[in-house]
């Protein structure tokens, strides 16, 4: 797979992305790993040239390379820290380039990939049509895009609302008892986190993809997963807005420890596949 010059990348970073190493615990979680293993199962057997978009620290890249011996992989991510972690993990087994989904057309040669993978990151892509257009340009004819996400409208089970909200209420009480001041201003999460699966299907159709499949698979997630989720800025900084992120994550984890067993939630992960004509 050919890549174009990487010497002049635009700056894709923002504060949230620079905090991405804080997602390490979630990425290592066995339930999260299983979620991504199901993604790898959906990659066509014959795919050899793979681009892993939003590759993070290379955890899924490694799974992909193990599952497809002899394949060539390029990982793309906007976080230099995570790319460094991916390079440390995989060395010369893959190449890792700085960029976001929309930049892959500038990073890779046209028609150079058999499959583009979005492993639990498509919900962070704000301009979905732009990203899918870029992906189409680097895919070969009949090339595939394979996506999963556990963050979309409808991923939660309404029955689990009580656990989530009681947990955060407990963390907020603890924060207040320590004299911490909580902000009462909506954080304004990106609308990309609220997309429905039907919107992903429509976007794939509009980008010219065919043979689109969409499957929602429920996962029962236990205490380890919730502990890992609580430690992410995405969760803790919204739940305890105004509290320093690391302390917010600690408070969330401490609050979870006060919830008696069994602790589990059911969440769906959406898997989408599509092909270029």
């Amino acid at each position: 797979m050919e890549s174009t010059s990487t010497s002049e990348h635009p700056n894709y970073f923002n504060d949230e992305q620079q905090e991405s190493p804080e997602y390490a615990a979630l990425r290592r979680n066995p339930e999260y790993v299983a979620m991504n293993a199901r993604l790898v199962e959906r990659i066509p057997e014959q795919a050899r040239d793979i681009v892993d978009i939003g590759c993070g620290d290379g955890a899924v890249s490694e799974t992909l390379l193990d599952a497809r011996p002899g394949s060539s992989l390029v990982g793309v991510d906007p976080s230099p820290a995570l790319l460094a972690a991916a390079e440390a993990r995989l060395g010369s087994r893959g190449r890792f380039l700085l960029g976001d989904a929309s930049s892959v057309a500038a990073l890779l040669s046209p028609c150079s990939c058999d499959v583009a993978v979005f492993a639990n990151c498509i919900h962070l892509v704000e301009d979905l049509p732009d990203a899918l257009e870029a992906v189409r340009r680097v895919l070969r004819p009949r090339g595939s895009v394979v996506i999963n996400s556990a963050f979309y409208a409808g991923a939660e089970s309404p029955e689990d609302l009580a656990l989530y909200t009681d947990l955060i209420a407990a963390a907020r009480r603890k924060a207040k008892s320590e004299g911490l001041v909580l902000e009462r201003r909506p954080v304004g999460r990106p609308l990309s986190l609220r997309r429905k699966t039907s919107e992903y299907v429509s976007a794939l159709e509009q980008a010219g993809f065919a043979d689109i499949t969409c499957e929602e698979v429920p996962f029962t997630l236990g205490r380890p997963f919730l502990t890992a989720l609580c430690s992410t800025p995405m969760f803790a900084s919204v739940a305890l807005a105004g509290v320093e992120r690391e302390r917010a994550a600690q408070l969330m984890v401490e609050a979870l420890e006060t919830v008696p067993d069994p602790v589990h939630v059911t969440r769906c992960c959406a898997y989408l596949t599509a092909r270029c004509p």
Binding site: S157, T165, A169, P186
Partner: protein, 94 residues
């Protein structure tokens, strides 16, 4: 403290909902007391499709808007199914 009328509380709650979810502004006129709050709550009832994170932001924004400490009132998100439930809880709390 001056008692809050239900009508004032309703309009305040709608403002807070739109603050939490700006995309709801274009549907403002369709929000009624019977509108459901959460995703998948009741398929037969129009819902705002809030998720758990929205619910938390909603509580926080309600506290700021109405100058309340909901954590002191025993109000739990799971008891709030509709916009009307929120309005009633706010009126009681104030």
């Amino acid at each position: 403290m001056v008692a809050l009328t239900e009508d004032t509380a309703f309009h305040g709650v709608v403002e807070v909902l739109i603050e939490v979810r700006p995309d709801l502004a274009e549907h403002r006129d369709r929000i009624t007391r019977d509108t459901g709050l959460f995703y998948g709550e009741d398929p037969s009832r129009p819902a705002l499709e809030l998720d758990s994170m929205d619910a938390l932001e909603l509580l926080s924004a309600l506290e700021r808007h109405f100058a309340l400490e909901l954590s002191d009132t025993g109000v739990r998100v799971v008891d709030l199914r509709t916009v009307g439930d929120v309005v009633d809880a706010i009126v009681r709390a104030v």
